[in-house]
């Protein structure tokens, strides 16, 4: 993250940032991809259970929620911001939508919309505080984290919300491709990644997100409404967190006030593992998907290997560092 690492970090994604769509597998995503493949090969060799359609679809299910949060996180980080509040916002959203249905007896669809709306409102709040008073995103989202967290527990009184109607958990249902069961949720997540890859790469708004993160002053001078771009980014991120909330509910089948407490760091990890620079303006959302999968594969693989949990943590630490090293090295190759 020191600029000393910038040259390798930058040049590559930069080019592609200019047109992600054509270069989804540009240098910035090549590294993560290689790392992911290596991890997969490794675990396939060490366990007989890893390499099965079922297990792979399982991994996707398990990274579905964090992955979706990481989409919003990518948007924010591309603007040179950071969002510590996404996990807490998601948790609050999931409690809102579930309680409205179970206690409030609202129709599920309406409840879902309201839940997502609440998340969007939090995102908007982040955006306004950051642009209007020009506060550092780290502190603003840290504050929001506390606020959303507290509201979640006050509103839910720590009660897990159960007895949800089937509509709310529909995304948890599966359809089968050949042998393997795939949840609709996984599908939605993949879809979201593609949508945002398109939006960031192919629309004016996307280019502006990069421009603002790349050099906010230059963007301002060339007449880009920097603040509006930022506010929309944080709001859109909020909406995405709302979707993540729905996915969470669908996956666990309940509204869980304790959910998402480590998801902020986890989502940032996915973004950075995906080759996006924390200094903004450089990186691809597809890389984030790869980053999330790397983490998911490592956890799943280690558990399949039956590694004791404490050693899982140890090895995860080592593997994460290895993963980015692979990235760095593969980039040197490509230059």
């Amino acid at each position: 993250m020191t600029s000393s690492t910038a040259p390798p970090e930058s040049a590559a994604p930069a080019v592609s940032a200019a047109r992600p769509w054509h270069r989804m597998l540009s240098a910035s995503t090549l590294g993560p991809l290689v790392a992911l493949l290596i991890a997969c090969v490794f675990f396939s060799l060490r366990t007989d259970t890893f390499l099965s359609g079922g297990n792979l679809s399982l991994v996707i299910q398990q990274v579905m929620v964090v992955g979706t949060l990481a989409i919003g996180q990518t948007l924010v980080i591309l603007t040179a911001g950071i969002d510590l509040s996404n996990g807490a916002i998601m948790a609050f959203g999931s409690i809102v939508m579930t309680k409205l249905v179970v206690d409030g007896h609202l129709p599920p669809l309406l409840a879902i919309v309201i839940g997502i709306g609440v998340c969007a409102a939090f995102g908007l709040g982040n955006g306004l505080l950051i642009t209007r008073i020009s506060l550092p995103p780290f502190i603003v989202t840290l504050g929001m984290l506390n606020i959303a967290f507290a509201l979640t527990h006050i509103y839910s009184q720590e009660e897990t919300v159960t007895g949800l109607p089937t509509e709310m958990t529909a995304l948890g249902n599966t359809f089968s491709i050949g042998e393997t069961e795939v949840t609709y949720g996984s599908l939605l997540t993949i879809l979201l990644f593609l949508v945002f890859a398109y939006v960031l790469g192919q629309t004016a708004w996307g280019r502006r997100v990069y421009a603002v993160g790349n050099n906010a002053e230059a963007a301002r001078l060339t007449g880009i409404p920097t603040r509006r771009v930022l506010v929309t980014v944080y709001t859109v991120a909020g909406v995405v967190y709302g979707v993540a909330a729905l996915l969470l509910v669908a996956r666990t089948g309940v509204g869980d006030p304790k959910a998402g407490q480590t998801d902020n760091l986890d989502s940032i990890t996915a973004v950075v593992l995906g080759g996006t620079s924390l200094f903004g303006g450089r990186g691809l959302v597809i890389g984030t998907l790869l980053g999330a999968l790397i983490v998911g594969v490592i956890r799943n693989g280690l558990q399949l290997m039956g590694v004791p949990s404490i050693y899982q943590i140890l090895i995860t630490g080592i593997l994460v560092i290895l993963a980015v090293s692979v990235d760095q090295i593969s980039r040197r190759r490509t230059r």
Partner: protein
């Protein structure tokens, strides 16, 4: 004797501010402790004393609790009720507090040594684990068991006690071949589900699942349901929250050891009021009890049904 003590409460209130009682829970994110607070709150109101609450930042956060102790003593509490995140690490801070004449009562989790507190109002987590262990043993009726344990997190005493208790009750020891999978879940439903899913990938024929608490148990149930094996697998748990007890009633969880945080808290507050009024300190260990709840009784283990469970559940 509420009426009596309430009079005394207001009396001491007349003499320079109402009596302050401090309650420090492990975290803010566990219904168990929320119920504890509710119990304490009710008792405090009834007796016209003020309750101060604080909690650790995460499971195992000792420094946060030390800070809370210091601040409450500075605020002039008469007594402290605490569920220590670290039974040993908290001791020095508690001793400082007691040296300042504060009555210190451990709730739910004993300190090491127990003498570091004036009194302990707790339930025996080892016993809670043991009960579901015995239950599972009996229920398996000699069938070969393939056990998955969904635990709490590294080094959290409750988790360790319940886990060990379960093994004791089931008549096996750590490392027994019948334990095919052990994962930490932080007592979180989503994490519990992921852990169970991975366990099933590793050993599809698991037939007994021990879970640290009911959220984890429900997570495990989801994972099994996805594999269509929820009927064949025996899930046992600990806590006895209302959500959990309902899950027992609906058969998602076979049995759970029910504990009584409300009781611990209200008794604790009562003891502090007693001390404020008469100066007599509560002492020793008061077991607030644990009951095995299940609708599928087995021979040789005492079981109460979910009717009782729901009547006495706390969450």
């Amino acid at each position: 004797g509420n009426s009596g003590s309430s009079g005394a409460g207001s009396a001491s209130g007349a003499a320079g501010g109402a009596v302050k009682v401090g309650l420090i829970t492990k975290t803010d994110t566990n219904p168990f402790f929320v119920k504890m607070k509710e119990g304490a709150e009710k008792e405090a109101k009834a007796n016209g004393v003020t309750l101060m609450t604080a909690a650790g930042k995460f499971d195992g956060d000792n420094e946060g609790q030390v800070t809370a102790i210091e601040n409450m003593v500075a605020a002039g509490v008469k007594g402290l009720l605490i569920t220590p995140n670290d039974s040993k690490a908290i001791v020095p801070a508690l001793e400082k507090a007691r040296a300042k004449g504060v009555l210190v009562i451990a709730l739910d989790t004993p300190t090491e040594p127990q003498t570091a507190t004036d009194a302990l109002f707790a339930t025996d987590n080892l016993k809670a684990g043991e009960l579901i262990g015995q239950y599972a043993k009996a229920k398996m009726a000699g069938k070969p068991a393939k056990i998955a344990t969904l635990d709490l997190a590294p080094g959290i005493s409750v988790g360790i006690l319940r886990h060990d208790g379960f093994l004791k009750g089931f008549g096996i020891t750590q490392g027994d071949p019948s334990i095919v999978c052990s994962q930490d879940t932080s007592g979180d439903q989503a994490k519990g589900q992921a852990a169970m899913e991975n366990c099933l990938q590793k050993a599809p024929d698991i037939n007994v699942v021990y879970t640290i608490n009911e959220p984890a148990a429900l997570g495990a149930f989801n994972a099994l349901k996805a594999k269509g094996r929820e009927k064949e697998v025996l899930i046992v748990s600990v806590d006895g929250g209302c959500t959990g007890t309902k899950a027992v009633k609906s058969g998602q969880i076979a049995a759970t050891s029910q504990q009584y945080p409300l009781k611990m808290a209200s008794q604790g507050v009562g003891a502090v009021i007693q001390y404020a009024k008469t100066g007599t300190k509560a002492s020793g260990y008061t077991d607030t009890g644990v009951t095995l709840i299940s609708d599928q009784p087995v021979s040789g283990v005492e079981v109460k049904d979910t009717g009782f469970g729901l009547a006495n559940c706390w969450g």
